[in-house]
């Protein structure tokens, strides 16, 4: 029975399929006939018409790329400029005898063999009707010499282009960024109409972040061409609209001072105007010269930059992770006051180490003999570790995490540069999720002095310092003043805003900031060396971040440890302390002690900025 059914079915199915094959074939034949009849309509019936159009097709649309917007510093100094350059280009298809043309040109313009070889290899990558550059950046004299002989060189033309240059080179490279050739992946995402005739696009920094503003609007030119394709007449044009000029908040003079102050150290300096969040200086060292990137940097040159152990291409200020060390202590002190855990007058005995109940491990203070009995204010001034071990232990890691988050620890700052990284301030939840481990009480102590899992970026530390200087007003660092209704933070990194203000008791702010002033101005302060001769008060805090962990019974002798394992020196500061106009974070990689290395650097920057305008 079932067998019978199957047979019947398959017979039926066969017929059904065959039927569909016939229908499909008929459809295909019909559709093909449709195509052919359309082709007959175009190629036979319409031949005269289209042939005439094709012969008259002398009007070519050629794009006029807009000049890219300039980038200026806050005082109008040009950080990214466009300069006209002339290049000699050949369209191989329009050149009757390419070989002799090139050798004639070589004589005329003293071309080197290398230039000719490069032309040959470029030519093979292009189509025969593409314009291929033979020499770029011709001098005025060379342009004149060629122009006289131009009629003898069919297919050879001089093109003038605007070329991006960065007059300050490496100094602002990590802020301004650079433009480079549009690559394959970018090409797929770009609107071809907007970018026709444009060969460069912002790759990093401001050039990348504000690409749409800087680019401008492409114009078009209707050009009459002859049969060889050479343009003989311009029939009409739509002028391009230049890209927007961007004025940064950066002060290039201050940037230079900061850069020089850092000396031979690698590291980063970020200075902000606390009230507005404007970035005044943004140094990441070592840096690199962005100019070679514009034409396409040589592979070898790029590799040297890329594999250099110094990592000059790496934006330390924006993406570098460092432990904040003791610079975190003022913030932890605020957390303690606010959580009501401690009264400011409470004293802790510091014997030079701290013991957790039931644990034999000694959490050591940086000062071997200890600080004796010490209150909060002096604990900040002298940077007593034991006091903050105790305080962190009392607050607890989760409360500390929630409080410091408001100051931006472990959070993106929302600065208008792409690629910012968030850093980390740990919590029990974080550790369970990221490490699949439970939290150990000892780790709270270490976090309390800005070590262990805690990681900040220099720009983040500068922002936290600015919020402290503002007595709680939250700001977002930015390099370009946002247009109304266009908060830059929305465009780059979606950041969480806990609110506009961190509401704390006025006495809490006062206590901590007074202590920070003492750090600089009191003889017992860790940075008292930089306090002299100032007409205003500076509030600061030193920090030394461990790179290399020291064993229980070893002692750390800075000078004997290899340079790259030496501690990072940090310093945060703002001034004038009562009405701050600059907030700064300095990080000197492997600089050793914050007090001796980072603090004097900060002073130089602050002094220059406030110098003659107290």
């Amino acid at each position: 029975m079932s067998r019978h059914l199957t047979i019947r079915n398959s017979l039926y199915e066969n017929r059904l399929l065959l039927n569909r094959v016939v229908v499909s074939a008929l459809l295909i034949v019909a559709a093909s006939l449709g195509l052919v009849s359309r082709l007959i309509y175009l190629q036979v019936v319409g031949y005269e018409h289209f042939s005439m159009l094709s012969r008259d097709n002398r009007v070519k649309i050629s794009p006029l790329p807009p000049p890219r917007g300039l980038i200026l510093d806050r005082n109008g100094e040009i950080l990214a400029d466009n300069i006209p350059t002339y290049s000699l280009e050949i369209v191989p298809e329009q050149t009757p005898d390419l070989r002799s043309t090139v050798s004639e040109l070589a004589k005329l313009l003293n071309l080197s063999d290398e230039e000719i070889n490069r032309f040959d290899s470029l030519r093979k990558k292009h189509k025969v009707f593409d314009s291929v550059p033979l020499r770029q950046q011709l001098t005025e004299e060379e342009v004149a010499r060629f122009s006289v002989k131009m009629p003898y060189f069919p297919g050879v033309e001089i093109h003038s282009r605007l070329l991006r240059t960065y007059p300050y080179g490496a100094l602002a490279a990590h802020v301004v960024g650079f433009v480079g050739r549009i690559n394959e992946a970018e090409l797929q995402k770009l609107d071809p109409a907007t970018y026709s005739g444009t060969y460069h696009i912002g790759k990093t920094g401001i050039e990348n972040a504000y690409e749409s503003e800087l680019h401008g609007k492409t114009g078009y030119e209707e050009i009459e061409i002859n049969v060889q394709g050479r343009s003989i007449n311009v029939l009409g044009s739509t002028q391009p609209v230049a890209g927007k000029e961007l004025r940064l908040t950066l002060d290039i003079q201050l940037q230079k001072i900061a850069n020089d102050a850092l000396g031979d150290y690698n590291g980063a300096i970020v200075a902000l105007e606390p009230d507005s969040g404007e970035v005044l200086a943004f140094v990441s060292k070592p840096s690199f010269d962005p100019n070679p990137f514009i034409h396409g940097i040589g592979r070898e040159e790029y590799n040297t930059l890329k594999i250099s152990p110094e990592r000059p291409l790496y934006n330390r200020a924006l993406r570098g992770f460092y432990p904040p060390g003791s610079t975190i202590k003022p913030f932890v002190a605020l957390a303690g006051l606010e959580a009501g855990q401690v009264s400011p007058t409470r004293r802790v005995i510091c014997p030079g180490y701290y013991l957790l109940p039931g644990v034999s491990h000694r959490y050591r203070d940086w000062r071997k003999g200890g600080h004796g009995g010490i209150d909060m204010r002096n604990a900040i001034v002298q940077s007593c570790d034991v006091y903050f071990y105790d305080l962190a232990h009392r607050i607890g890691i989760d409360r500390l995490h929630a409080f410091l988050k408001q100051f931006g620890f472990g959070e993106l700052t929302g600065i208008d540069l792409a690629g910012e990284k968030a850093g980390l301030f740990p919590s029990q939840k974080w550790k369970k999720k990221a490490r699949k481990q439970k939290w150990f009480p000892g780790e709270t102590l270490i976090a309390g002095i800005g070590q262990g899992y805690v990681q900040i970026t220099p720009v983040q530390l500068a922002r936290s310092t600015a919020i402290l200087a503002n007595r709680g007003k939250i700001i977002e660092p930015h390099l370009v003043e946002p247009a109304k209704g266009d908060p830059p933070a929305e465009r780059f990194n979606p950041i969480q805003r806990p609110g506009r203000f961190i509401e704390l008791a006025p006495e809490s702010w006062k206590l901590v900031i007074d202590a920070m002033v003492e750090v600089v101005h009191s003889p017992r302060g860790t940075a008292h060396g930089i306090g002299g001769g100032l007409s205003y008060k500076t509030a600061g805090k030193t920090g030394t971040a461990q790179v290399f962990s020291v064993g229980q019974n070893q002692s750390y002798k800075g000078m004997r440890v290899e340079q790259k394992l030496r501690d990072h020196a940090l310093f945060i500061a703002f001034a004038p302390a009562d009405a701050p106009r600059i907030a700064i974070a300095v990080l000197a990689e492997n600089g050793g002690h914050g007090a001796s290395v980072a603090a004097p650097i900060a002073r130089q920057v602050i002094e220059h900025y406030l110098g003659d305008r107290p």
Binding site: L17, N19, L35, L39, L42, K189
Partner: protein, 377 residues
Amino acid sequence: MNIDSGISAIKMAPRPTSQFVHKLHIDVPLLSGLLVLSGFALIVLYSAGGQNLNVLLRQATRLGFALLIMLAIAQIHPRSLKRYSPPLYLLGIALLAAVLVIGAIGKGAQRWLDLGILRFQPSELTKLSTPMMIAWYLTARALPPRFGQLVVAAVLIGLPTLLIAKQPDLGTAFLVAASGSAVLFIAGMSWRYLMGLTAVCASALPALWYFMRDYQRDRVLMFLNPEADPLGRGYHIIQSKIAIGSGGLYGKGWLHGTQAHLEFLPERSTDFIFAVLAEEFGLLGCIGLLAIYLFILSRCFYIMVQAQDTYSRLLSGALTLTFFVYLFVNIGMVIGILPVVGVPLPLVSYGGTSMVTLLASFGMLMSIQTHRTLLPG
């Protein structure tokens, strides 16, 4: 038993070369058609690509690679193709989802997965795995498919289609939907349902418009009225028509197409390569190309009719129809009777991804043709 082997011995014995070719599971007529087509394509490409030997070499390398893939797939027995249909389909869906997720993280449209040395477009896999899946599903049931089965099939087709449309790659989404639907058509889906489906699709067009990106809307508007913006968006279609029309009956001659060489014609080597062919080889060249295509198609139909099981028939029929849809949509676009969608001219346009997929599908057809046993198994 003895008779069987006797007959097969007679059939398999003929010339030694043929035996060798048969062992490699090559279908000679189909391969010849494909080679003639590819040869012609390279000739046109040399002109369209601005007489650039590099372009030609790269395309020839891709062609060689794709032919090897075809050969490899031809070795797989149709039984295995059938068995692997569901897992392949699921893999395709998973990869599409991965592309979307990665694209969402990386911001902006993304179609491929970066596997280090090569970039792989999962949507290409689904062009094959979707018809395979539908064929697998329908084969297990009696034909023609009933309403319930059609609903299941619609879901199976809709899933990859939507995922690809979301990339957004409407051209490929359309082709995947077409390849799946082709199986249903071959399987004998009743005309009543077919009409109903067409009606549903037609009424869904306004909704589709709503989901389109701006540039996709522009393309449709431009198709409806290219003269509205002759220097802007309508430019491509107008210049393409001038190129084709001015080719006339015999064409301007190889390497002599002014439209293409003076850069009036956009996308000369890729989507609009047919216009270059029409300009330089004229109507006769176009008919020649169509004739090669029709030869390949007729061989495919022959293979389908000869196929011995339902799965093979459904799959080969669907792949054949899809191949035609491909070329019809591209040529229709270039000659201005269909809107511009990013579909290359199969096996002629410059570019590698679709070539590999297409030749893989011809590999399946060869496998179906060369793995036949004398009597139905």
